[in-house]
Symmetry: C2
Subunit: 357 residues, 2 copies
């Protein structure tokens, strides 16, 4: 089963805040972190015992990295397939690349979800103007055209309000394969942070309710404003997904809740997720420790939530005023990134309050 022992080393691909919080979680468990990333300025490396700064296609560096760790995981889904293939010759890579490949491509993701009987927004693959016209005919407007790959935080997305927007929208894709997603009249967006161990055991955190601004997550609050039935269905959907993928690790599952309570999955993220940051203060075992436990082959932790929580992202220069933020009776997380840039996630806040449900 290839378990990473206490005192062992977990390799982490990626150098951002998610890798940083994973490395910190590993440290709690006495597990060393070895960060691998091409970017020399690494928030994650500064809390890790080792850092390899190399490209994701550098076979020699990947081999040395793989030999120095007991398992490898990742903070992002866009790991090149070849990177996983090389690493897997030496060491377990968790989650497995089948989950990464599906999450890398919005069309593959929708096909997978629909095959499981899981609802999504109506969608059509769009490679050219003709396909887009037919897709708009089928799905109507408004609709959203998205690149199939490498989109995040609202990047690579164009809203199509009327069919007249089609020509401009397809130009903005720059020839990249795309997907048209039909309008979903949803009431709210929720996320389930689900985990699955190497033995197939599962554990989900309470769904959080998300709000966005300019395409970027702004807040997640728990509990979400949904009834018990919707909550239980949301957990069941997330569990169905991680089971179908024979998944290992933590996965973020974003869902739309329609006015009648119907759930549609918006996106899956095969990694720790921004909408699960509240678990750092809201639960004894955070999503980061849960992911480390899962990918290291340890028993999953308790996902019990002891408090209500509101997590607020600090974006761009919002984090610069850390002195005022730390006065406000809430937990402040700063990611140790250098300069703030507009739209860049620089940190987050979590405010707890007594549990109400």
């Amino acid at each position: 089963m290839n378990i990473v022992p206490g005192g062992g080393t977990l390799g982490i691909l990626g150098s951002g805040q998610l890798g940083r919080m994973l490395a910190i979680a590993a440290a709690r468990l006495g597990i060393d972190a070895h960060i691998y990333a091409p970017d020399p300025d690494s928030p994650a490396a500064r809390v890790a015992s080792r850092f390899t700064c190399a490209a994701y296609d550098d076979r020699t560096a990947l081999e040395q990295f793989a030999k120095s760790v007991d398992a490898v995981t990742t903070e992002f889904e866009n790991v090149p397939a070849e990177t996983c293939t090389i690493l897997k010759e030496y060491v377990p890579v968790r989650p497995d690349d089948n989950a990464l490949e599906i999450a890398q491509d919005r069309v593959a993701e929708k096909i997978f979800l629909n095959k499981q009987g899981i609802g999504t927004a109506p969608w059509r693959a769009v490679d050219d103007t003709g396909m887009l016209d037919r897709a708009i005919n089928a799905l109507g407007t408004p609709a959203i055209l998205k690149t199939r790959r490498f989109g995040y935080d609202g990047k690579g997305q164009v809203r199509i309000t009327t069919p007249h927007d089609a020509a401009d929208a397809i130009r903005q894709m720059n020839g990249a394969p795309a997907i048209l997603e039909g309008f979903v009249p949803f009431e709210r967006e929720i996320s389930v942070i689900a985990a699955r161990g190497i033995d197939g055991t599962r554990a989900c955190y309470d769904p959080g309710e998300n709000s966005h601004k300019d395409g970027i997550l702004r807040t997640t609050k728990v509990p979400a404003d949904i009834n018990t039935q919707t909550r239980n269905e949301a957990l069941a959907v997330a569990e169905k997904i991680i089971d179908a993928l024979d998944y290992t690790g933590v996965m973020g599952v974003e869902m739309f809740v329609e006015p009648d309570g119907t759930l549609l999955v918006n996106e899956i993220a095969p990694r720790v997720h921004n909408t699960g940051h509240w678990t750092l203060e809201g639960c004894a075992i955070s999503q980061f420790e849960q992911h480390v436990r899962a990918v290291c082959g340890w028993p999953l932790g308790d996902t019990h939530r002891h408090s209500n929580a509101v997590m607020t992202n600090l974006i761009g220069d919002e984090a610069d005023d850390w002195q005022a933020l730390t006065k406000q009776s809430q937990a402040v997380h700063l990611y140790g990134k250098g300069a703030s840039r507009p739209g860049r996630k620089m940190g987050h806040l979590t405010r707890l309050s007594p549990k109400t449900q």
Copy 2:
């Protein structure tokens, strides 16, 4: 005021689990940690951005270290006075060495406390057999003879049950200056984890109740089984101490509770404290983050406790069975130390339960 900014660097003297948990707490706030310690095998260094392995009297290394950081703190009280003197030429050292010096010497500590009107066990300084005989005459038996300096986890302590034990007890001191502490018929031992910011603001966590085994802390539970009046008095005593020292940082204050509720201070520790580990899961801001905030000149965090908690130390080979421990619905912390040795603190557990008071 010399504030360590977000993105700044905190120097930490000492390489053990307390330094490790301080470094992790600093990382949450976007502050890099630079560990300084003579021991090359450092649990703290493995989560820090930088590590200087050098002796505490290595002036060149200390100067370079001091120039690389924005402030210095310590995980232990026995920092040589000369080390602080060198560092203070370059950078703020917090807490100040007056607190360290008092906590290094059980006699100085008792004199300081009694001068503040704070009760302690009755005591006498003991340098030789004659002084011990007179001390036993004054305080009676049973009593405990302790070295004045460098004692921890029950080391350097001999119980004197009858006056006949005196000769053997003084031999065990190996000529070190000692203190005889009279018997205190206490009902329980509690700790207050108190914090004071550079602006003099104070914040205390709820008192924890401690149990020991073989002279080593075994568990701390919160809430302590004391009434509101005793709780408030305990916080007032701790605040009196940190104010009198013009202290900056977190301090652990151990107290005996006598059957009538009288509080006697057993020991002060000018640092984060084992009896405050429960705050990692029991509060949004842990004692470690609180200490980092204080010594970096940041506003103190909220000390509100959202749950009941029981912290249990993992001593010696108890931590080896991490797989079973992680199954038990509680938080597990392993310190990343190499081999377990009898009496060595290897990790700890924290179990939360709903708040009852």
